[in-house]
Amino acid sequence: MTDMDPRLQEALDGERDPATLPEGLREAYARFTAAADLLRQPPAVSVADRVMAEVRRTAPVPVVSPAGVARRIARWFTRPRAVTLRLRPAWTLAIAAALAAVMLVPFRGPVTLGAEEGVAQFVGHFPGARSVEVVGSFNDWRRGALALRDDDNDGIWHGAVVLPAGQHEYMFVVDGERWVADPLAGRYVDDGFGAGRQNALLIVRP
């Protein structure tokens, strides 16, 4: 940085009459004062306005096609976004309690049946049993799909399920190991495995 002539400095500070300056310094003085005047005046158009005007002028106008819109919508739906959820702890606990109640309380409302469906009821008297389940052709003979209940511990186990109308073979499995044909079924069919055992037969009416 070059040092400023002290006479020029004095003139700019108002301590010297600019007319007493030599020719070269008077020209420098005039340039400085013109620049200072320019800075004092507010610009007619703000810098921000000028920049934005330039951006608008140079940016190409996008061509909107239906496929492009669909892609943008799809991107909007699929792009991960941070979601901030602010809850009061009291509300959080209330919502958790409500959800737990919905999940745990058994549904007791009316079941809507399809045209080709019916309700099958199962009842068995198995005093002292720890568990009773129904296994049959309606669940591919798979264990654990339909457990009966004995809520009052009187040895009478029961359950009901919606099944397709038609014929279903089934058996009770008591305590996970003892296969028993339902004594109340009324209909039975030989299981075909040669030991004279029978399956209970259920006919579900639509």
């Binding site: 058994p106 549904f107 007791r108 079941v111 309700v119 009821q121 129904v134 296994v135 052709s137 309606f138 669940n139 591919d140 003979w141 798979r142 264990r143 799909a145 339909l146 029961h158 359950g159 009901a160 399920v161 919606v162 099944l163 109308a165 038609g166 014929q167 073979e169 296969w179 209909r187 069919v189 030989d190 299981d191 075909g192 495995f193 040669g194 030991a195 399956n199 037969l201 006919i203 009416r205 639509p206």
Partner: protein, 223 residues
């Protein structure tokens, strides 16, 4: 398009799961080749294979020894062949469908006489195809026979019921009404009970069990 492809990729294995895949891990490995072969024979003869798959799954769940398990499935195949022959003889002008064959095989498994099954099927109305499903009338017949009614009387009663316009599960009501008449206080002979039911037709009582309070929606395969 991508979504459709993804759905197909996910759904196809579920929909088209082969019998072998359904049985693997559910029946002893030593029984699988024999069962596969029987199921392939059934498919080659255009017989329904699902009853055989069910029999194999049942045997596997019950822990039936391999030899008896395969014999049980083989017995099922023989019953399906017999059933198809009965259906073809009884309704020669109708297209034989898997459900009819399976229903007749189930009736034979219940011990119904093949000749009786054939007479009941022949009494079914002809076209339009596929006609009336034979399951209800065969179960009604099997119920009546199980209660000691003579086979000829049962066939006649069910023919009358059909002439009176009773169809489907209403035929089961006929069987229930007949067994109730048989068990009435004072006692009735089978002939008396059948005469009473015949007199009621077509207004036999509808047997509707009470609806339980709690019903599980479905205990289907894999649930």
């Amino acid at each position: 398009m991508k979504l459709l492809a993804a759905l197909l990729i996910v759904a196809a294995p579920v929909a088209a799961q082969s019998p072998h895949a359904r049985l693997e891990g559910r029946v002893p490995a030593a029984a699988l080749p024999g069962i596969d072969s029987l199921i392939e024979q059934a498919a080659a003869e255009s017989l329904p294979t699902e009853p055989l798959v069910q029999k194999a799954l049942e045997g596997g769940a019950k822990g039936i020894p391999v030899g008896r398990l395969v014999n049980g499935v083989r017995h099922g195949l023989v019953q399906l062949r017999d059933a198809r022959a009965i259906v073809s003889r009884a309704t020669p002008d109708r297209v034989t469908i898997d459900d009819d064959v399976a229903a007749v095989a189930a009736a034979l498994a219940r011990g119904l006489d093949p000749g009786m099954v054939e007479r009941l099927l022949a009494a079914a109305p002809p076209a339009p195809p596929p006609g009336e499903p034979p399951g209800p009338v065969l179960h009604a017949a099997a119920d009546l026979v199980a209660h000691g009614f003579p086979a000829d009387s049962v066939v006649d009663l069910l023919k009358t019921a059909r002439q009176e316009g009773l169809r489907g599960s209403r035929l089961l009501d006929v069987a229930v009404a007949a067994s109730h008449e048989l068990q009435r206080e004072g006692g009735r002979t089978p002939a008396e009970a059948l005469a009473r039911v015949r007199a009621m037709m077509p207004n036999v009582p509808v047997a509707t069990p009470p609806r339980p309070k709690v019903v599980t929606r479905r205990a289907g395969p894999g649930s």
